[in-house]
């Protein structure tokens, strides 16, 4: 971990108290977990997320946190232990990636179904086969219908900020759902960059303590968790899950604003970059957004009204907001860092097309599946997308609805 921590001398207000540190994404998330000081962490290491729980286990060993660290024999057990601890009434966190998240799959649904506000840091990595350790979003896309809130991060700063906010979002009485915060494998998890770290006290005060109304370890009011529901009640219970997911949007906005007050960095459901008057808009998730911003800058200098729409919250998906932001544009390019293998591009494309169904002024739209298994996506590739969007804008014609970007055919 970096020694180069300096106070931000130029900063005023809430930013003044922050330390500027050189951290990798994994270090930033481990730092956030230390400041949150959860009751229980149960985890199994997997590349590229290993460092998160490795660094955190050092904090536990050094007595810097009060956390009970449960070393388990698999990710399935990790999530199972998280579920048990969370049901007991503890504040619980874990971290994983790719195959690890896939192995948790059945337990992810149980965590959501039991309304347990577990916070999971997922380092986005491709799923096998072929085996690969590098970034794409297939792992968390596989969990998109599990009932978890999903928040994507562009860089290490956002991974840190999102992890802290996820605690408040998940534990909010109107929500009570598990939440996963993601960052791009290696690109962010292992890249060291500048991160502003808030004081421990500020974070502890922000996250407060978790006092669930209903918990297993309440001997005065014994309850059963996870009983059998047949045709009589299963549907009602699953129907109830739609309520907190719907309410989560408001809560995420509220917490994002409150976090802005302590940090100077407010968060919403998405980030628009030079979006207001943009005619050609790119929509994507994660670290490529940062690279795309430099391309948008270049295009703006050349007189092209380019803009970027980075989605932060993928679950719940901001359908109405996306429709309002995208209708009427000359052309919209969607970049999916996973393939839906459904016959029509990636999952983000599907959501956006669905969002725009009722719009009277639907923009022409094309999907680009890119970056699978860590394939680099630099400014030249993004420029290629914008060039096509300009052509689509001119002709109004989308020749093919989706394509693969940066692949050898």
């Amino acid at each position: 971990m970096s020694e180069a921590k300096v106070k931000d001398k130029a900063a005023k207000g809430p930013e003044a108290a922050q330390e500027i540190a050189a951290l990798t994404g994994n270090e930033a998330v481990a730092m956030a977990m230390k400041q949150i000081n959860p009751d229980v962490v149960a985890a199994y290491p997997i590349t590229p997320a290993t460092e998160i729980v490795q660094i955190f286990s050092n904090y536990v060993a050094d007595g810097l946190v009060d956390t009970e660290y449960v070393a388990v024999e698999s990710e399935h057990s990790a999530m199972s232990a998280c579920i048990g601890a969370s049901a007991a009434g503890a504040r619980v966190m874990t971290g994983t990636s790719a195959q690890g998240l896939a192995l948790m799959w059945e337990m992810l649904y149980i965590a959501a179904g039991l309304r347990l506000p577990i916070v999971l840091a997922d380092v986005n990595r491709a799923l096998s086969a072929p085996i690969n350790i590098h970034c794409d979003h297939s792992d968390t896309m596989g969990a998109r219908d599990s009932g978890w809130i999903q928040i994507f991060s562009e860089d290490a700063q956002e991974a840190y900020d999102n992890t802290i906010q996820a605690i408040r979002i998940a534990e909010h009485p109107d929500v009570l759902l598990p939440a996963m915060v993601t960052m791009d494998g290696f690109i962010i998890s292992h890249g060291m960059e500048v991160v502003k770290v808030l004081p421990d006290d500020t974070i502890r005060e922000f996250v407060g303590t978790y006092n669930p109304k209903v918990k297993l370890l309440d001997v005065d009011t014994p309850r059963t968790f996870g009983p059998l529901d047949f045709t009589d009640f299963y549907f009602e219970h699953r129907r109830q899950l739609a309520e907190p997911i719907a309410k989560a949007k408001e809560v995420i906005l509220e917490i994002g604003k409150e976090y802005g007050k302590i940090s100077g960095r407010s968060y919403g459901l998405y980030e628009g970059y030079k979006l207001d008057d943009a005619e050609y808009v790119l929509v994507l998730l994660g670290s490529t957004a940062g690279t795309a911003k430099t391309v948008v800058d270049d295009l703006r200098e050349a007189g092209v009204k380019a803009g970027l729409l980075k989605i932060r919250v993928f679950r719940p998906f901001p359908y109405d907001e996306m429709a309002a932001l995208l209708e009427g544009r000359k052309a919209v390019g969607v970049m999916d860092r996973s393939d839906g293998l459904a016959g029509l591009g990636g999952p983000l494309f599907g959501e956006l097309r669905s969002a725009l169904y009722e719009s009277k002024n639907r923009p022409p739209m094309k999907d680009y599946v890119y970056g699978l298994g860590g394939r680099d996506c630099g400014p030249a590739l993004i420029r290629q997308v914008f060039d096509e969007l300009l052509e689509i804008g001119k002709t109004g014609q989308v020749k093919e609805r989706f394509t693969y970007l940066g692949v050898r055919e």
Binding site: H190, A289, T291, D376, P379
Partner: protein, 194 residues
């Protein structure tokens, strides 16, 4: 320095290319700059060719793709030349630093350089002399600062000392050796600048 500076480190697994990038990034941050330091992850084996990168700027850095057109290339191991395209993407106004005992003219020929600035130094010999092991990354760090002056030398050496103190708590001689290596390499390159 208004623009973005991109640096590529070439080495072999075990020579400390990743650590050098991290130390340099840390020093730049300490001097109030924005920075990125990241390794290229591939088949990581002792002795296999590896690369790591820095981006340095006065402005926040949002780009998160690979460094394709470095301004500076630092070569920790001259045996990579020929098997790895170490000057790939380097502009004519770029800077190359090579750890080698060979003279600059010969190295310029080997690397097929055009107008790029070239600095050569025997960082391995410096490392053997000061640290007692052929770990050329810290001397090359000193050479980089000498050649580019991206960060103040004294600032860098203070930052590196702090970082090494944490890493080698029980081996103070390693810390002094590394700092001496950085100083020597810095002086060699400064002399070449004339």
């Amino acid at each position: 320095m208004g623009r973005l500076i991109e640096i590529r480190w070439h080495g072999r697994g075990g020579q400390g290319a990743k650590t050098a990038a991290l130390l340099f990034g840390d020093a730049c941050l300490g001097a109030g700059m924005y920075m990125q330091a990241f390794p290229e992850y591939g088949p990581e084996r002792m002795g296999a060719p590896v690369a790591s990168y820095n981006r340095i700027s006065d402005e926040p850095i949002t780009i998160h793709s690979a460094v394709e057109k470095p301004n500076v290339v630092v070569i920790l191991d001259p045996t990579l030349i020929g098997s790895v395209d170490v000057t790939k993407g380097l502009d004519d106004d770029g800077v190359v630093l090579v750890n080698t005992g060979e003279p600059a003219e010969k190295m310029r020929e080997k690397l097929k350089l055009n107008g790029q600035k070239l600095y050569v130094l025997d960082a391995s010999a410096i490392a053997m002399e000061t640290i007692g092991r052929n770990i050329p990354n810290t001397p090359m760090l000193g050479a980089l600062v000498g050649a580019t002056e991206i960060v103040d030398f004294n600032h860098m050496i203070e930052d590196t000392e702090k970082k090494l103190q944490k890493k080698f708590r029980n081996k103070p001689e390693v810390i002094q050796g590394n700092l001496e290596a950085i100083r020597k390499a810095y002086e060699v390159v400064k002399a070449q600048k004339g």
